[in-house]
Symmetry: C2
Subunit: 583 residues, 2 copies
Amino acid sequence: MYRTHNCGELRISNQHNRVTLAGWVQRSRDLGGMTFVDLRDRYGITQLVFNMESDAALCEQARKLGREDVIQIEGEVFERSSKNKNIPTGEVEVIVTKLSLLNEAKTPPFTIEAETDGGEDLRMKYRYLDLRRPPLQANLKLRHKASIETRKYLDSLDFLEIETPYLIKSTPEGARDFVVPSRMNPNQFYALPQSPQTFKQLLMVSGYDRYYQIVKCFRDEDLRADRQPEFTQIDCEMAFVDQEDILRNFEGLVRHLFREVKGVELPEFKRMDYATAMEKYGSDKPDLRFGMEFVNLNDHAKNKGFKIFDEAEVVLGICVAGGAAYSRKELDAFTNFVKRPQVGAKGMVYVKYNEDETVKSSVDKFYTEEDLKVWLQASGAKPGDALFVLSGDLNSTRKQLNELRLHVAETQGLKDKNVFVPLWVTDFPLLEWDEESERFHAMHHPFTSPKAEDIGKMESAPGEIRANAYDMVINGVEVGGGSIRIHDRELQSKMFDLLGFSKEEAQQQFGFLMGAFEYGAPPHGGIAFGFDRLCALLGGYDNIRDFIAFPKNNAGRDVMIDAPDKLDSEQLKELYIDLVEKA
Amino acid sequence: MYRTHNCGELRISNQHNRVTLAGWVQRSRDLGGMTFVDLRDRYGITQLVFNMESDAALCEQARKLGREDVIQIEGEVFERSSKNKNIPTGEVEVIVTKLSLLNEAKTPPFTIEAETDGGEDLRMKYRYLDLRRPPLQANLKLRHKASIETRKYLDSLDFLEIETPYLIKSTPEGARDFVVPSRMNPNQFYALPQSPQTFKQLLMVSGYDRYYQIVKCFRDEDLRADRQPEFTQIDCEMAFVDQEDILRNFEGLVRHLFREVKGVELPEFKRMDYATAMEKYGSDKPDLRFGMEFVNLNDHAKNKGFKIFDEAEVVLGICVAGGAAYSRKELDAFTNFVKRPQVGAKGMVYVKYNEDETVKSSVDKFYTEEDLKVWLQASGAKPGDALFVLSGDLNSTRKQLNELRLHVAETQGLKDKNVFVPLWVTDFPLLEWDEESERFHAMHHPFTSPKAEDIGKMESAPGEIRANAYDMVINGVEVGGGSIRIHDRELQSKMFDLLGFSKEEAQQQFGFLMGAFEYGAPPHGGIAFGFDRLCALLGGYDNIRDFIAFPKNNAGRDVMIDAPDKLDSEQLKELYIDLVEKA
């Protein structure tokens, strides 16, 4: 036995217990004839005391200890004279009688504290040391708790966790697959799943009724802060349900998680259809912690001789509370923000509604004060507010104004980490037109069902068909998304036609699913949550990497283990593949 | 809402409720003016009644229903006149007033019943239909329950489930890796993990103290009934533990699973060291539901003029209870069994100890009755028993006699599926000599620590070093295995030397782990359970495929989705690989 207690366990009730502890040296300090060592493990910190007077040799031994050394001690628990109210063990200390150095530690390349001096590259390389830091330990504990609570909730609703395969088949739809050459089937490849989509649908055909899985998925896409080549989903599917059943059940799941993991009671989930979200916020994942709904100024701003607006498809504004107080410099900063290449606007028009009810605008030259007051009125501005206005074609302007709205909210501190506004966005378009390939793509995926009332448009106006698809959005983060699926072979086949598959391609790729639909497929639907992102949201972080034990960097590399790596030629030979040099 | 109740829910207390149900037509039969339909879902079966007299059109509609059609009905719950005591819903039936056909089903290629007429190939192709059969539904429910209970137990002991990466680095040790070409890092490859071994060790270095994960692992090996290219492990690791801590905690886990999943209270876990297991049973996973311990007859059987025994390294026997009653034909069958190429013995000697205390043996010519009675006495045989004897070199004879022992037990019905005898096999050899490559291999893996008292043999007699390694064996099935790990850089480095790694290779492959050992690695150890196999054991099956929703066949193929499959040349190009034709 290496220990009788862990380092977070001893209390005043343990006074005079003989104990054995083991852990890491967090810090040590010499005070007169005493040496104090903070001993750390996952559970907490316990103060150890070595006394020069009572055992000089032992105290000398303790004075040689360095940070992060692994030690084991025996000693007796005493009440502390100066208590530390900040930690649960702060009322006691252990007077040490025996000390063993279990493993010596070199000086770590960065400090193992909540705030560290290590840069990101260094911390990624020594991830096993970074993972010792309290914030990361708290994050991985939160993740564990979130997975336990997810399973508890779904288990209570009779969902079965069923594992689906990782070695599956590559499909041309969606993102790029990671593939795995098969040694036993030369020149053939498995693909790693982007999601267990078809398998969970087959499980519904098999009658499992309610399925879930917390499962790794893979996408070979270029990476960003909130994307990893491998990521985790809470993947769910239900049979004999309509959209309302799904929304109710999974609202319940997320409500449960916020309550149990974070101690937060979520407000009622709002609902908004896709068209409204785009119209009011220019985004299918609007952050509703703050207002600033878009105002269409076309009727008021066009045909008054200001060429830029006259030639624009739309003139859209947002009302910025307190915006009249912005200085010239601050306004310039907002203009510069929208002109950044990532946003892409040509400029920004402002209209200040001063406290004295005068108006000041960057387009004073083109509009009278009365004109501008009409704008202000249309946007609900009050004295002291300002209107920020962008113009151009509909899609770009919405996108840019969405960025500006979020930026203003950031600037004004409206993104309160302790406020959560959950929202269902519904009625997504079934298809989106891809200019490059000149064909329709499935907006969600090819298995999503069209709304019954829109099925008539499948030949006449496919672009206008709305889908039984829905996203859960919290504070502007898309937490999960799903759809009611097609369960009819004919309709599925028609869908593949619309997506430009030939009959042969559809049969070769998804024949098994369409076959399954012929043997009694129930109506079904589901949802998948991005578990990494959900954890980040619960933990109050933006970057999912902080909730993944061993993440990859932006080049898809694990710099700690140095993967990917070369293979030896023998391995390549066994797999019947050759390398092609990059041109 | 597709249903107000599921098909396993209605009871006599629901009498006169108006209900809506949905499910599959299990069977239907016409009786006079009535049609009875059994409606099935995951939860049970409910009897539906259609009455020609009260609604002829509806009844006609019902008579057109075929097996596996998906329907929705509305109706009223009534008490049944002839109750079915075999099912929980057997006291009621639903008189239907409305019927909707949700999806028609073609006639399935095999019957969807507990006993089916479909062959294995057909059932693999239509796995989604096979999965509807009650035994497979029961198996996947058992698997779900086992995973829930595993997590419940480990969570209660403060284990954290932490996900480790799937895209890692290929290592030359152990089985063959599946690999994944990296598009972003041309000519480099990830490997899929054979186990999260090094990551869980790093998590101990990071101070997570108690880790587990129910996780998919991958091995590109030729397949057998109890092997799949992807399989699931309960993977665990603990810091500041010795072997005793591990055995105690995980004995607890398996005891918990048998209790909660199977309702079985396991007896005390026996302990046996590897040397004893090999000596007494010729196997490191002995089935202890029955006796038949090996008896070494060297002292009694050699040097009496029987050349075969005289030239053999060992003469080993087992005492077969009641074996004196075997006919000549039965004895021949045992002889034929040991002569099968898979067993490989040259022949078998028997000694019958008849009820009248006379002796009859196949080596009567070479030994006197007194000689043979000494053998019988040495083996503890009683009148009515027989002795089965094999001879040859030590390793082969042990292996063959182990096979024979298991075969006799099978024949005699001693493998009782309701009896469970759990066992820890300990003190495995650290290394095994590989004749082919003329070097030592790690018997468990290169991170396993030698027993402290054997460390002195690392230079002098490496083959004799025992490891802190242990396997959990239940009824002859290796359920799990693990070890206390090396946590000292020097020792780990010495281990790689012994295994024939150059310093450079060791550094290139495992530098990150040895590096981690320099920054304060705690003593640690762990275990991994084969979850598929554990579920099969809990379910009373031999084949793990029956507990995997979508297994691969013996050629590593998923015949349902037809994977693996060819890639198009564009995909290969992006990955910088070319195909090599099989010679």
